[in-house]
Amino acid sequence: MAPEASACPAIDAPAPPLPRVRAFIDPATGQLREPTADELRRLAEERLAARAAAAPRVFVVVEHPDGMKSVDLGDAFLFDVKLEAGEDGAFRIVCVPPPGVPANPPQ
């Protein structure tokens, strides 16, 4: 009878910067599974820490003659999909945000 802790291992890899969509593959069944509440909470905390450490992005608002405004986002709002493998071999896929979004004050 496996203890709960080992049956549900904490498989968070070292914090990648700011993940967003994630998937887990249970090696026992070969099926995707979702992270536990504890895993998600820890990931969120890691992302916040990484985000705080990221340099603020600077966006330029372009005002067009007709009143339109546009902002080149670069890769600031790309939603990363990461795959991570834990010590037990399980994978997870995560949809993640970019770092440092939008940290600059309104213009």
Partner: protein
């Protein structure tokens, strides 16, 4: 229309798009940004798979991209061309973690000709669709997408593989089309530009997505709230919902009934308790399983020191037989607990969490377990246990009047974990929605290339649905057998 029939109609529409580009639908074009010999141009031979007829790795990648873009193109109406700048290239990767890919809008635009709302940001693709023209001619594509070409190679998650087939038969591989459908939806506007961790709006003005984010506690939409209000709202799990006509209308036919634990007596605690479900065990039904709760008792032994964890065969089987067993979470697998109380003759199982946390899905698999089981919070479990002497009569059931992933007003919940999860928060459906939705933050293995509630949400922010596409049906409202019943709040399946 059945799911297969709907998919057939969708494919027919897709073929139509390819065959007759003059159709007044959104044209989504994949711009191959790779150099010769790499990425989409990788000439490594490949065997056609799952409807993908490409004979090189590069050709299969491109065909999967074009297929996913074609699915969206077939669903969206409008006389506009959207470009997706796409590459397959080496991205950050190690043996244990790596980036599969990334996608999103390249520009935010406001106050464009024909903009429905002034001083409101729109993703570039949506703004161009509404304006009916390319608002930034000569600039970059409206959406950028880049995916990892090294996945599955030595040093880069070697055991993981992309599945380039178009038929969703991906097995244990990563279904590229599903990931692309999700990512492209972000690029089409399924996101807020506001920062959920600070509450700040992007460049000091709201976006169109914000105007549909309703905080049930505050009774306001996000665009009407202060930075502090949005920051607080972003972590009100279960209280932040999408509020707009199309999604509200589509939710009942899309989402499953909500599992619940009805407490009939004693009167002091009578009511409906929110529950987490399990990935195994008997399916909950609308009629449910009723009985009095009975505390399961087992020996304090090497399987578990506690006498309330049901980690060993019960010592009070006669008291549990025919009743709903109450056990505490901890020490052993959920399947072990269920097996032991079922062996004692219990008709159902209620597991009380041993941690103060949101509800989740109890993981595990055991086909021999046929009784239904639910998880209650630590505090609800304590309340039930404290009243056992008075006789606690309960029913484990599905509540057909509520749907998994909705608030009390039947609005579909958005993902609002505490702490906030930077970009994931708010820009996805809540994890409690069931069946799984395309735009939940964790990719589920059972996605079927459906766009479920994503399409009506895109319509709510300004996209138009192509008239040839029927309303997407969903499967049964709940699943049978080991797939377990529909999910409820805070649905995080946990390995046993």
């Amino acid at each position: 229309m059945s799911r297969s029939a709907w998919r057939g109609a969708l494919l027919a529409a897709l073929v139509l798009v390819v065959a007759t580009p003059a159709r007044a639908g959104v044209q989504i074009t994949i711009i191959n940004g790779n150099a010769a010999g790499v990425g989409f141009n990788d000439a490594t031979p490949a065997t056609p798979v799952g409807g993908n007829t490409g004979t090189t790795v590069g050709a299969q990648r491109l065909q999967a991209f074009q297929y996913a873009a074609g699915l969206w193109s077939a669903l969206l109406d409008g006389d506009v061309s959207i470009q997706i700048q796409a590459t397959f290239e080496p991205l950050d990767c190690t043996a244990t973690t790596g980036t599969l890919g990334a996608a999103g809008p390249t520009q935010a635009i406001s106050d464009f000709p024909g903009a429905p709302e002034p001083r409101t940001w729109y993703a570039a693709a949506l703004a161009s669709r509404i304006a009916g023209t390319d608002l930034l001619p000569g600039s970059a594509a409206e959406i950028q997408a880049k995916f990892n070409s090294n996945l599955g190679t030595t040093g880069c998650l070697a055991s993981a593989q992309w599945y380039y087939g178009l038929d969703n038969q991906h097995g244990n591989s990563i279904d590229l089309v599903s990931v692309l459908l999700h990512e492209f939806a972000h690029g089409l506007g399924f996101l807020t530009f506001a920062d959920p961790t600070t509450g700040q709006e992007f460049q000091g003005q709201p976006d169109i997505f914000e105007k549909h984010i309703r905080d049930d506690s505050a009774g306001q939409t996000w665009d009407a709230m202060s930075d502090a209000g949005r920051q607080a709202s972003a972590i009100r799990t279960g209280s932040v919902a999408w509020d707009s006509p199309r999604v509200n209308a589509a939710a009942p036919s899309t989402l499953a009934s909500t599992p619940t634990l009805t407490v009939h007596a004693p009167a002091a605690i009578a009511g409906e308790l929110e529950v987490g479900t399990a990935s195994f065990g008997g399916a909950l039904t609308a009629a449910g399983v009723s009985g009095n709760l009975a505390a399961a008792e087992d020996p304090s032994d090497s399987a578990g020191a506690a006498t309330t964890d049901a980690c060993s065969p019960l010592t009070n089987a006669a008291a549990v037989a025919g009743r709903i067993a109450l056990v505490d979470r901890g020490t052993c697998n959920f399947t072990d607990k269920a097996r032991n109380v079922q062996a004692a003759g219990a008709a159902g199982l209620v597991v009380a969490d041993n941690v103060a946390e949101p509800l989740f899905i109890m993981g595990g698999a055991d086909a021999s377990i046929t009784i239904p089981l639910v998880l209650v919070t630590q505090s609800d479990g304590a309340s039930l246990r404290a009243n056992l002497a008075a006789g606690v009569a309960v029913t484990l059931r599905l509540d057909p009047t509520r749907h998994a992933g909705t608030d009390s007003a039947a609005r579909v919940l958005l993902y609002a974990p505490n702490p906030a999860d930077a970009g994931s928060s708010i820009s996805h459906w809540d994890s409690s929605a069931f069946p799984h939705l395309l735009m939940q933050p964790s990719l589920a293995s059972d996605l079927k290339h459906d766009v479920d509630l994503t399409l009506p949400l895109l319509q709510d922010i300004g996209w138009a649905a192509a008239p040839v596409v029927p309303t997407a049906p969903r499967g049964p409202v709940h699943r049978e057998g080991n797939d377990g019943p529909p999910r409820k709040l805070g649905p995080r399946p946990e390995a046993p």
